[in-house]
Symmetry: C2
Subunit: 138 residues, 2 copies
Protein backbone atom coordinates (compact mmCIF):
# COMPACT_ATOMS: atom_id res chain seq x y z
CA UNK A 1 0.00 0.00 0.00
CA UNK A 2 1.51 3.27 -1.08
CA UNK A 3 1.37 6.73 0.40
CA UNK A 4 -1.57 7.82 -1.71
CA UNK A 5 -3.73 5.01 -0.39
CA UNK A 6 -2.70 5.46 3.22
CA UNK A 7 -3.54 9.13 2.97
CA UNK A 8 -6.94 8.42 1.45
CA UNK A 9 -7.79 6.00 4.21
CA UNK A 10 -7.49 8.80 6.70
CA UNK A 11 -9.01 11.56 4.65
CA UNK A 12 -5.63 13.16 4.17
CA UNK A 13 -4.32 14.63 0.96
CA UNK A 14 -1.49 13.92 -1.39
CA UNK A 15 0.45 17.11 -1.87
CA UNK A 16 3.51 18.18 -3.74
CA UNK A 17 5.66 18.72 -0.66
CA UNK A 18 4.85 15.23 0.53
CA UNK A 19 5.74 13.83 -2.84
CA UNK A 20 9.03 15.68 -2.78
CA UNK A 21 10.05 14.36 0.64
CA UNK A 22 9.14 10.84 -0.35
CA UNK A 23 11.01 11.12 -3.60
CA UNK A 24 14.14 12.38 -1.88
CA UNK A 25 14.02 9.53 0.58
CA UNK A 26 13.58 7.07 -2.25
CA UNK A 27 16.64 8.40 -4.00
CA UNK A 28 18.80 8.29 -0.88
CA UNK A 29 20.98 5.46 0.33
CA UNK A 30 22.06 7.13 3.57
CA UNK A 31 20.00 8.26 6.54
CA UNK A 32 18.74 11.82 6.05
CA UNK A 33 17.85 14.36 8.68
CA UNK A 34 14.99 16.80 8.28
CA UNK A 35 17.49 19.55 7.58
CA UNK A 36 19.27 17.55 4.91
CA UNK A 37 16.04 16.67 3.17
CA UNK A 38 15.14 20.33 3.19
CA UNK A 39 18.50 21.18 1.61
CA UNK A 40 18.04 18.62 -1.12
CA UNK A 41 14.57 19.93 -1.84
CA UNK A 42 15.98 23.41 -2.31
CA UNK A 43 18.65 22.06 -4.64
CA UNK A 44 15.84 20.59 -6.68
CA UNK A 45 14.36 24.07 -6.80
CA UNK A 46 11.29 22.85 -4.97
CA UNK A 47 9.32 25.34 -2.97
CA UNK A 48 8.94 23.75 0.42
CA UNK A 49 9.20 24.68 4.09
CA UNK A 50 11.40 23.00 6.64
CA UNK A 51 8.41 22.71 8.92
CA UNK A 52 6.63 20.67 6.33
CA UNK A 53 9.56 18.31 6.10
CA UNK A 54 9.30 17.67 9.83
CA UNK A 55 5.57 17.13 9.56
CA UNK A 56 5.88 14.81 6.61
CA UNK A 57 8.52 12.71 8.32
CA UNK A 58 6.26 12.40 11.32
CA UNK A 59 3.46 11.30 9.03
CA UNK A 60 5.57 8.77 7.20
CA UNK A 61 6.71 7.50 10.56
CA UNK A 62 3.13 6.95 11.68
CA UNK A 63 2.52 5.07 8.46
CA UNK A 64 5.57 2.93 9.17
CA UNK A 65 7.03 3.97 5.85
CA UNK A 66 10.18 5.32 7.38
CA UNK A 67 12.68 4.18 9.99
CA UNK A 68 15.09 6.17 12.13
CA UNK A 69 18.77 5.34 12.08
CA UNK A 70 20.42 5.60 15.46
CA UNK A 71 24.07 5.88 14.64
CA UNK A 72 26.17 7.01 17.60
CA UNK A 73 26.48 10.58 16.44
CA UNK A 74 23.66 11.39 14.06
CA UNK A 75 20.59 10.16 15.91
CA UNK A 76 18.07 11.59 13.59
CA UNK A 77 18.53 10.02 10.22
CA UNK A 78 15.47 8.75 8.38
CA UNK A 79 15.40 5.96 5.88
CA UNK A 80 12.65 4.65 3.73
CA UNK A 81 11.46 1.39 5.22
CA UNK A 82 10.15 -1.68 3.51
CA UNK A 83 6.97 -3.02 5.02
CA UNK A 84 7.49 -5.53 7.78
CA UNK A 85 10.11 -6.05 10.44
CA UNK A 86 13.53 -4.93 9.25
CA UNK A 87 16.78 -3.58 10.64
CA UNK A 88 19.52 -1.38 9.26
CA UNK A 89 23.08 -2.14 8.36
CA UNK A 90 25.05 1.08 8.15
CA UNK A 91 28.50 1.66 6.67
CA UNK A 92 30.76 3.37 9.17
CA UNK A 93 32.57 5.23 6.45
CA UNK A 94 30.06 6.41 3.89
CA UNK A 95 26.81 5.82 5.81
CA UNK A 96 25.38 3.85 2.93
CA UNK A 97 22.65 1.79 4.51
CA UNK A 98 20.82 -1.37 3.55
CA UNK A 99 18.04 -3.01 5.44
CA UNK A 100 17.75 -6.67 6.23
CA UNK A 101 14.68 -8.61 7.29
CA UNK A 102 14.37 -8.96 11.04
CA UNK A 103 13.98 -12.67 10.92
CA UNK A 104 16.81 -13.08 13.39
CA UNK A 105 16.19 -15.24 16.41
CA UNK A 106 16.64 -13.24 19.55
CA UNK A 107 14.51 -15.56 21.61
CA UNK A 108 17.58 -17.06 23.24
CA UNK A 109 18.87 -13.74 24.50
CA UNK A 110 15.41 -12.55 25.35
CA UNK A 111 14.65 -15.65 27.39
CA UNK A 112 17.86 -15.38 29.33
CA UNK A 113 17.56 -11.66 29.96
CA UNK A 114 13.96 -11.95 31.06
CA UNK A 115 14.86 -14.63 33.56
CA UNK A 116 17.79 -12.67 34.90
CA UNK A 117 16.11 -9.27 35.14
CA UNK A 118 12.44 -9.98 35.69
CA UNK A 119 11.64 -7.62 32.85
CA UNK A 120 9.08 -8.61 30.24
CA UNK A 121 10.74 -7.97 26.89
CA UNK A 122 8.45 -7.04 24.01
CA UNK A 123 10.48 -4.99 21.59
CA UNK A 124 14.01 -4.41 20.42
CA UNK A 125 16.29 -2.22 18.42
CA UNK A 126 19.02 -3.87 16.44
CA UNK A 127 21.41 -2.11 14.14
CA UNK A 128 24.53 -3.46 12.50
CA UNK A 129 27.55 -1.45 11.44
CA UNK A 130 30.37 -2.27 9.12
CA UNK A 131 31.97 -1.54 5.80
CA UNK A 132 30.04 -1.52 2.59
CA UNK A 133 31.55 -3.31 -0.41
CA UNK A 134 33.01 -0.20 -2.03
CA UNK A 135 34.46 1.13 1.22
CA UNK A 136 36.22 -2.17 1.83
CA UNK A 137 38.50 -1.50 -1.12
CA UNK A 138 39.83 1.86 0.02
Amino acid sequence: MDLQEKLNQKGLRMTRPRRVVLSILEAASVPLSAGTIYQKALERKERIGLVTVYRTLELLDEFGMVRRAHSQDECHGYLLASPGHHHNLVCHTCMKTVEFPGSEDLSGIVQRVQRQTGYQVNDHLLELYGLCPSCQES
Copy 2:
Protein backbone atom coordinates in the same frame (compact mmCIF):
# COMPACT_ATOMS: atom_id res chain seq x y z
CA MET B 1 40.00 1.43 36.48
CA ASP B 2 38.11 4.40 37.82
CA LEU B 3 37.77 7.93 36.54
CA GLN B 4 40.65 9.26 38.62
CA GLU B 5 43.07 6.84 37.06
CA LYS B 6 41.86 7.36 33.53
CA LEU B 7 42.24 11.09 33.97
CA ASN B 8 45.77 10.75 35.36
CA GLN B 9 46.78 8.61 32.39
CA LYS B 10 46.06 11.49 30.11
CA GLY B 11 47.30 14.30 32.28
CA LEU B 12 43.77 15.44 32.96
CA ARG B 13 42.41 16.52 36.32
CA MET B 14 39.77 15.31 38.68
CA THR B 15 37.46 18.19 39.41
CA ARG B 16 34.37 18.75 41.46
CA PRO B 17 32.05 19.19 38.46
CA ARG B 18 33.26 15.92 37.06
CA ARG B 19 32.68 14.20 40.34
CA VAL B 20 29.17 15.62 40.49
CA VAL B 21 28.21 14.39 37.04
CA LEU B 22 29.58 10.96 37.76
CA SER B 23 27.80 10.80 41.07
CA ILE B 24 24.48 11.76 39.53
CA LEU B 25 24.87 9.10 36.89
CA GLU B 26 25.70 6.54 39.54
CA ALA B 27 22.55 7.36 41.45
CA ALA B 28 20.31 7.17 38.38
CA SER B 29 18.44 4.17 37.05
CA VAL B 30 17.08 5.88 33.97
CA PRO B 31 18.89 7.45 31.03
CA LEU B 32 19.71 11.09 31.70
CA SER B 33 20.19 13.88 29.22
CA ALA B 34 22.74 16.65 29.70
CA GLY B 35 19.95 19.00 30.66
CA THR B 36 18.52 16.64 33.24
CA ILE B 37 21.88 16.07 34.82
CA TYR B 38 22.32 19.80 35.02
CA GLN B 39 18.95 20.12 36.76
CA LYS B 40 19.81 17.47 39.30
CA ALA B 41 23.12 19.16 39.99
CA LEU B 42 21.31 22.41 40.73
CA GLU B 43 18.92 20.59 43.05
CA ARG B 44 21.96 19.37 44.90
CA LYS B 45 23.02 22.99 45.20
CA GLU B 46 26.15 22.31 43.21
CA ARG B 47 27.71 25.14 41.30
CA ILE B 48 28.14 23.82 37.80
CA GLY B 49 27.64 24.91 34.20
CA LEU B 50 25.56 23.13 31.61
CA VAL B 51 28.49 23.37 29.24
CA THR B 52 30.59 21.41 31.66
CA VAL B 53 27.99 18.69 31.80
CA TYR B 54 28.19 18.32 28.04
CA ARG B 55 31.96 18.23 28.18
CA THR B 56 32.05 15.72 30.97
CA LEU B 57 29.64 13.41 29.21
CA GLU B 58 31.81 13.57 26.14
CA LEU B 59 34.80 12.71 28.27
CA LEU B 60 33.10 9.82 30.01
CA ASP B 61 32.01 8.60 26.62
CA GLU B 62 35.59 8.58 25.37
CA PHE B 63 36.54 6.61 28.43
CA GLY B 64 33.78 4.14 27.70
CA MET B 65 32.32 4.80 31.11
CA VAL B 66 28.98 5.82 29.76
CA ARG B 67 26.56 4.50 27.17
CA ARG B 68 23.89 6.30 25.22
CA ALA B 69 20.33 5.03 25.26
CA HIS B 70 18.60 5.30 21.90
CA SER B 71 14.95 5.07 22.80
CA GLN B 72 12.66 6.18 19.98
CA ASP B 73 11.97 9.59 21.44
CA GLU B 74 14.78 10.55 23.80
CA CYS B 75 17.87 9.85 21.74
CA HIS B 76 20.33 11.37 24.09
CA GLY B 77 20.06 9.64 27.41
CA TYR B 78 23.28 8.63 29.09
CA LEU B 79 23.76 5.71 31.42
CA LEU B 80 26.73 4.65 33.43
CA ALA B 81 28.27 1.66 31.74
CA SER B 82 29.97 -1.33 33.28
CA PRO B 83 33.26 -2.18 31.66
CA GLY B 84 32.97 -4.60 28.80
CA HIS B 85 30.39 -5.28 26.16
CA HIS B 86 26.88 -4.66 27.45
CA HIS B 87 23.47 -3.64 26.19
CA ASN B 88 20.51 -1.87 27.69
CA LEU B 89 17.08 -3.13 28.59
CA VAL B 90 14.74 -0.19 29.01
CA CYS B 91 11.28 -0.14 30.55
CA HIS B 92 8.78 1.45 28.19
CA THR B 93 6.79 2.90 31.05
CA CYS B 94 9.20 4.20 33.66
CA MET B 95 12.45 4.14 31.68
CA LYS B 96 14.17 2.18 34.41
CA THR B 97 17.10 0.59 32.67
CA VAL B 98 19.30 -2.38 33.41
CA GLU B 99 22.23 -3.55 31.40
CA PHE B 100 22.95 -7.08 30.42
CA PRO B 101 26.23 -8.58 29.24
CA GLY B 102 26.50 -8.71 25.47
CA SER B 103 27.30 -12.34 25.38
CA GLU B 104 24.55 -12.94 22.89
CA ASP B 105 25.43 -14.78 19.77
CA LEU B 106 24.73 -12.67 16.74
CA SER B 107 27.12 -14.59 14.54
CA GLY B 108 24.24 -16.34 12.83
CA ILE B 109 22.58 -13.14 11.76
CA VAL B 110 25.87 -11.47 11.01
CA GLN B 111 26.99 -14.33 8.78
CA ARG B 112 23.78 -14.33 6.85
CA VAL B 113 23.63 -10.56 6.45
CA GLN B 114 27.25 -10.35 5.36
CA ARG B 115 26.67 -12.96 2.70
CA GLN B 116 23.55 -11.27 1.44
CA THR B 117 24.82 -7.70 1.44
CA GLY B 118 28.56 -7.93 0.87
CA TYR B 119 29.05 -5.67 3.88
CA GLN B 120 31.68 -6.51 6.46
CA VAL B 121 29.95 -6.29 9.81
CA ASN B 122 32.09 -5.29 12.77
CA ASP B 123 29.82 -3.66 15.29
CA HIS B 124 26.24 -3.58 16.44
CA LEU B 125 23.72 -1.79 18.56
CA LEU B 126 21.21 -3.87 20.42
CA GLU B 127 18.65 -2.53 22.82
CA LEU B 128 15.74 -4.36 24.38
CA TYR B 129 12.51 -2.78 25.56
CA GLY B 130 9.84 -4.09 27.86
CA LEU B 131 8.21 -3.77 31.23
CA CYS B 132 10.19 -3.72 34.43
CA PRO B 133 8.95 -5.88 37.32
CA SER B 134 7.17 -3.07 39.13
CA CYS B 135 5.51 -1.71 35.99
CA GLN B 136 4.13 -5.16 35.19
CA GLU B 137 1.83 -4.98 38.18
CA SER B 138 0.09 -1.74 37.27
